[in-house]
């Protein structure tokens, strides 16, 4: 492993910010998915008001409801959580005044930037897999038995939605770099989440990259999922790739001015 990857993975692994965020995301995703399915079942069976409300958000019962809810929560939560960590990873070097020690080294700063983004993606993807495993354990403990292959496939799609959400969070690493701190990036992240809501309400979600993962896992219903075009998926890939390239390029020109 290259020195840049060794150091950046160590920083993410030891950071209380990253540990808390990814740990909380995994627990919340599992708790929400299993809890929503249980509430929906109770709403259907016993006429519970909360259950009736949740039942409108998730489809099916049992593992079908769990896996569907998992994708919906993960697609949003991973964008938010990974966005904060990606912003922190780059922005902290300014706020902690450690940037000077990362410049003028035999290890190019562009390689350090790539290692930062890669470490965040790796940690976030691992957390998404961990969230799926926790959800499986939670469902079994809640008495749902073992999931079928279709439910496992839906859970897997949820994990992919989480990875897509994380990929879409990379632009906030770039914002933190040019904004010289993580706060501007956190502001931009909140702005994107709000804009996504408005765009979806106006019917444009099928092409808006930050809304595509949620729609694909059924957050807008089966019809909205079917409306997502190849262009929308291509934009998801392009946004992350452009953010990666821009961040690496910006870091390659950084100086302590």
């Amino acid at each position: 492993m290259s020195p840049a990857w060794t150091v950046e993975l160590l920083k993410v692994r030891r950071s209380p910010v990253a540990r808390t965020a990814f740990g909380a995301m995994a627990v919340i995703a599992a708790f929400f998915s299993v809890g929503a399915a249980l509430l929906a079942a109770r709403g259907t069976a016993e006429g519970s008001l909360a259950g009736a409300k949740v039942a409108a958000m998730v489809e099916g019962v049992g593992w079908s409801a769990v896996s569907g809810a998992f994708g919906q929560i993960v697609s949003v939560l991973w964008l938010l959580g990974t966005g904060v960590i990606a912003a922190w990873s780059c922005g902290r070097e300014y706020s902690d005044r450690t940037l000077g020690q990362l410049l003028a080294l035999p290890t190019p700063s562009s390689r350090i930037a790539a290692a930062k983004l890669g470490s965040v993606m790796l940690a976030s993807s691992t957390a998404a897999v961990g969230a799926a495993l926790l959800t499986l354990v939670g469902g079994v403990v809640a008495g749902m038995g073992l999931p079928g292959s279709g439910d496992l496939q839906t859970l897997g799609t949820g994990v992919l939605a989480g990875v897509a959400g994380a990929w879409l969070a990379l632009p906030f690493a770039w914002v933190a770099t040019v904004g010289r701190g993580y706060l501007p990036a956190v502001g931009a992240l909140l702005g994107i989440v709000m804009v996504s809501q408005v765009v979806v309400l106006l019917g444009g979600g099928s092409w808006f990259p930050w809304a595509v993962p949620s729609l694909l896992v059924g957050a807008g219903g089966a019809e909205a999922a079917a409306d997502v075009s190849g262009l929308g998926v291509a934009l998801v890939v392009s946004v992350g790739a452009a953010a990666w390239a821009s961040t690496v390029r910006t870091w390659s020109r950084l100086q302590l001015d």
Partner: protein
């Protein structure tokens, strides 16, 4: 042996010219001190010399006779860089790896640097829990961990107790005299610099305005007089003695 040569360095921040045509040589085996009042451009100049800030004009040359192992330059500018969540050992290992110390040699390099700065007993402590003085020692150890041939230190004794100051003083002199390192150091403590420096260059309003002889007394008075003279102010009466004559060449 590495020698640093700077010629005509200029750096502007908007309309402010922080460094204005500075020439400077830092020779191998020598401690070259840079002094000046607040805002004289010392830190900006040091940043350019350490390679973390690009000059708007001028040339910077490193002449290395020996084969550099890993990075040639070690620097501590501004505040000591330490990641709070990492231990002292992890901070130093990270610094060594990024400075191209071969992975197998990292533990030995870390141990040597920590011992040299007197923080070997703190290796397992998280950097976030260190005192200001020990953070400074950690920053200095990180600057030295790869055994650099050129050392650039901005106010290296900041936050250190008298014992720490002594450690740094001995270390700087040892690096220059024994290891043949070229050392550039800035400080406001002129008595400290007088003990370790071979040459003292005075910077004022971004320009080199003269040199001080470290072996002469009243360096502070000479510095003030030189700065005042550069501003066109005659302070002979206030200082009680004539200001040292400005050298014909304004840059060194």
């Amino acid at each position: 042996m590495t020698t640093l040569e700077a010629r005509g360095l200029v750096r502007r921040f908007g309309e402010v010219t922080a460094v204005d045509g500075v020439d400077l040589d830092v020779a191998a085996g020598q401690v070259h001190a840079l002094v000046g009042l607040n805002g004289s451009g010392k830190t900006t100049l040091l940043r350019m010399l350490a390679g973390v800030l690009r000059p708007d004009a001028g040339v910077l040359r490193l002449r290395s006779g020996a084969e550099p192992s890993g990075a040639v330059i070690g620097h501590l500018i501004d505040v000591p860089a330490a990641y709070a969540e990492l231990t002292v050992e992890q901070n130093l290992s990270s610094a060594a790896l990024l400075r191209a110390v071969p992975r197998a040699l990292v533990p030995r390099a870390v141990s040597r640097a920590a011992t040299a700065l007197g923080i070997a007993d703190l290796l397992t402590r998280r950097a976030g829990g260190l005192s200001l003085g020990n953070r400074q020692r950690l920053g200095l150890a990180a600057a030295l961990v790869h055994d650099p041939q050129l050392l650039v230190l901005d106010e290296p004794t900041n936050g250190l107790d008298p014992a720490g100051v002594l450690v740094v003083r001995r270390l700087v002199v040892e690096r220059a005299r024994t290891a043949g390192c070229a050392v550039l150091v800035s400080s406001h403590h002129l008595d400290e610099l007088a003990r370790i420096a071979d040459r003292i260059t005075v910077l004022h309003r971004g320009r080199v305005v003269g040199r001080l002889d470290p072996r002469t007394p009243d360096l502070e008075v000479q510095l003030f007089a030189m700065a005042a003279r550069a501003d066109g102010i005659d302070v002979t009466a206030e200082l009680g003695r004539p200001a040292p004559a400005r050298k014909p060449e304004a840059r060194s």
